[in-house]
């Protein structure tokens, strides 16, 4: 049997195949090169365009937690009364993938969701890249902005970021509040008494005594993990309470601001006073682990997001009582203690409109937002387990009677402070998370960790030329 000899030159079909492959590579390269233009956020119309009568699925994207499922059930039950041809689908991803799941689709300029639910700190990145619609004109025409605490409206929609506690009425809006949230202090009434500690120092000493008096129960439980924004929010909370600042937004200075005397004191309190009161091996705890510790009666005082606290009252998930009432005899919920300031962390998320959604879906998304922000719908959302943002809903019996921690939220609204809402947020929070986590787990000293955070974050802000070099 003879085999074809190899020749120096390709045969005609071989050359054709080679040329075709080269052409394909060039074409694919050209396709990949195209579409990478950076657009500023496109504007949504002030008036909602005509809505389709055809069946339509309005898709949200959020991370997987109880409020996401509550939203889907609520929207399909209530919004369907107004728009029977619309089905609402809340797509969920693991919390750790939430940012990536949204922004990789934004990067492709094609999304399988219409309403991304962004953390307040994601807005800067999305706006700068032109990923979400500018809804300033829409809000002016359709939303009663006076019905909200101005800072809540600003935190979930305004860019550039508002000053803490304020809203700049001349700034553009890119989102509306969907779910308000902050930390609540969860305390064991049966172990430390009915009255919650009022100051941070008092809270630490109460937790210390409780731990000493109750072997097997740790004094404190809080977020320490290095994923998502867990450890970063914990440090930022203590930083705020002890009078520190995360940065100077006007000068974009972090180094020298975050690690000033107040910042150092906050880190010292967190690592040297609070950490010793936590359970061994709790250095990777986040929402679920803190809830598990509380539900199993293993913590005297814990801190968690209000929106994630509903499960604590479920007797099936708790060893504290056979009924909700029995659990509530042992668990109390209070706003965070104050110290040098009374600041609390701003949590929650806003809803936005994807710039890459079809026009019919964008129109439906705007209509949903208008519907959702009505006073009676906000109260119904509160009754369904959501945390509304309108002041009238926050003060309504529907909200305050729905859960024992809802009063905590209403009381905390004027005390809220957010992190940095800048395009570099994801890297800033990762730097803070990993360093605070390192300090909490003994991999760095508190001072070393804080100085590293300040230095690395400053370098991210200083090198943010808007391009993709650097980033190590």
């Amino acid at each position: 049997m003879r085999y074809p000899q190899r020749r120096g030159r390709l045969s005609v079909p071989g050359r054709k195949a080679g040329l075709a492959a080269a052409a394909l590579l060039v074409a694919t390269t050209a396709a990949a090169c195209g579409g990478g233009q950076n657009d500023s956020a496109p504007k949504a119309p002030a008036t909602i365009p005509e809505l389709t009568k055809d069946p339509l699925t309005l898709s949200f994207i959020w991370f997987d937690w109880p409020p996401a499922h509550a939203l889907e059930a609520f929207a399909n039950a209530e919004y369907a009364k107004e728009r029977p041809n619309v089905t609402v689908k809340v797509k969920t991803v693991p919390n750790a993938n939430w940012h990536d799941a949204m922004f990789t689709q934004f990067a492709a300029h094609k999304t399988d969701f219409d309403i991304p639910i962004l953390d307040s700190q994601h807005i800067g990145e999305a706006v700068t890249n032109g990923n979400i619609l500018d809804i300033t004109d829409f809000v002016k025409k359709n939303i009663d902005v006076k019905a909200y605490n101005p800072y809540l409206l600003a935190a979930y929609g305004q860019f550039p970021q508002a000053e803490t506690g304020k809203r700049d009425e001349n700034a553009s809006l890119y989102g509306l509040p969907l779910l308000g949230d902050t930390w609540t202090m969860i305390y064991r009434k049966d172990l430390i008494g009915d009255k919650p500690p009022q100051t941070w120092d008092e809270m630490i000493s109460v937790a210390e005594k409780c731990q000493a008096d109750n072997p097997g129960v740790s004094g404190l439980a809080f977020h320490q993990a290095n994923g998502s924004d867990a450890a970063a929010v914990t440090y930022n909370t203590v930083n705020g309470v002890y009078g520190g600042n995360l940065w100077n937004p006007r000068t974009r200075k972090i180094d020298g601001v975050l690690n000033d005397a107040a910042g150092q004191e906050a880190m010292d309190v967190l690592v040297n006073k609070m950490k010793p009161l936590t359970a061994k091996g709790s250095g990777n705890w986040f929402i679920d682990e803190v809830n598990a510790a509380v539900a199993q009666g293993k913590a005297c005082i814990a801190f968690n997001w209000i929106a994630a606290s509903g499960g604590l009252l479920d007797p099936k998930q708790s060893t504290l009582g056979a009924t909700r009432e029995e659990i509530l005899d042992k668990l109390g919920f209070a706003a965070l203690p104050s110290q040098k300031t009374n600041l609390v962390p701003l949590g929650g998320m806003g809803m936005h409109v994807s710039a890459y959604s079809p026009e019919a879906n964008q129109a439906e998304a705007l209509n949903f937002m208008k519907w959702f922000e009505q006073a009676d719908i906000q109260k119904k959302w509160a009754a369904a387990g959501g945390v509304p943002s309108r002041t009238d809903a926050l003060e309504s019996p529907e909200f305050l009677d729905a859960a024992p921690f809802n009063q905590v939220y209403t009381d905390s609204v004027p005390r809220m402070r957010d992190m940095w809402n800048v395009p570099e947020y994801a890297r800033l929070v990762d730097i803070e998370n990993t360093n605070v986590n390192a300090a909490l787990n003994g991999a760095k000293t508190p001072k070393e960790a804080l100085d590293d955070i300040a230095k690395e974050q400053q370098s991210v802000l200083d090198s943010s030329s808007g391009k993709g070099g650097g980033g190590l």
Binding site: V12, G36, G466
Partner: protein, 319 residues
């Protein structure tokens, strides 16, 4: 009825024609059409390979010389070797490289010793060998994410079954996933639990292939067990074992999933491997240019080390 046409041909894969071809043009066209057929059959696979594998690699190579960002868009500016220099001189990268090296050496060594030992013991059994082999292979069949999730629960310092067992033996709690040293050890142990069967399988294949007459001859010479192992078993299985080590080392070098699930790189960044760091550069900051250069450098490291390793294997074979 005509006679059957001859079915042999000079060219493999060429279908014989029943009708004799006309001279000149038709003979050339037949040759072309056969070639064309070959191209037609191979081109879908080639095009898929080009689109899914070659193009992304070339595209990543191009991006690695630029400051391109997948989200921030805009035209990519050429930085030439700036990204590569930044990566090679970065203390952060050096730290992750050291972590990865410790992990690769620790995990692959442990897996090789255990895998070979298990294979050796199994190969000496006559009963239940198939069942034992199958049972040992189960961890390898599981998804690393699933393995990571259930080990995360088992290694939890407060609620995990491992500490509960240690407690019942009167031993103290170990912070498996949050201690600076124990976190990396935990990663190595979990990876070893999952991938020791791979080494075992390859070693078992090698052990089964050792001719029995060599052992019989050694028995006649009254050679000790250790002498037989040292002079017959190990030299014959060694080349195969080295190939298994090569595969495992490449896999371990790319470790991402177990880190992501078990420790998220913590505490701090003490268990962040190179792959995990690339992920952060690529998807947290969307520094696509840097991430591409980082990825290319990792591929180059694997290629260079593999080449050196293969040369050693060839030399071993020649000797």
């Amino acid at each position: 009825m005509s006679d059957p046409a001859p079915l042999t041909t000079d060219h493999p894969g060429q279908v014989a024609s029943a009708t004799p071809p006309a001279p000149g043009r038709s003979r050339r066209s037949r040759r072309l059409s056969d070639r064309g057929l070959a191209v037609a059959f191979t081109s879908p696979a080639l095009l898929l390979l080009l689109a899914m594998s070659v193009f992304p690699l070339l595209w990543a190579l191009y991006l690695s010389f630029t400051d391109y960002s997948a989200t921030r868009g805009g035209p990519a500016q050429f930085l030439w070797f700036e990204n590569y220099t930044a990566i090679l001189t970065s203390p952060q990268v050096h730290q992750r490289a050291l972590t990865t090296l410790v992990y690769v050496v620790g995990a692959v060594t442990l897996q090789t010793v255990l895998g070979f030992a298990i294979a050796y013991l199994i190969s000496r059994r006559t009963h239940g060998r198939g069942l034992l082999t199958t049972l040992f292979l189960v961890p390898m069949m599981l998804s690393p994410v699933v393995v990571g999730l259930f080990w995360r629960f088992m290694l939890d310092a407060q609620f995990g079954v491992i500490n509960s067992m240690l407690g019942s033996l009167g031993l103290g709690q170990v912070e498996w996933l949050t201690g600076q040293r124990t976190a990396l050890i935990s990663l190595i142990l979990v990876d070893t639990w999952q991938w020791t069967p791979f080494i075992m399988l390859i070693a078992l294949a090698g052990l089964t292939a050792v001719p029995t007459y060599l052992y019989e001859a050694a028995s006649i010479d009254r050679a000790s067990e250790w002498f037989r192992f040292r002079t017959i078993t190990l030299p014959l299985v060694w080349p195969l074992l080295l190939i298994a080590v090569l595969f495992r080392a490449i896999e371990a070098f790319r470790l991402f999933d177990l880190v992501y699930i078990l420790t998220s790189g913590g505490p701090g960044v003490s268990t962040e491997t190179l792959s995990f760091h690339v992920y952060k550069v690529a998807f947290l900051g969307f520094n696509t240019g840097t991430a591409s250069a980082y990825g290319i450098l990792m591929v180059l490291v694997v290629i260079v080390l593999t080449q050196l390793y293969l040369r050693y294997l060839n030399k071993l074979k020649e000797d």
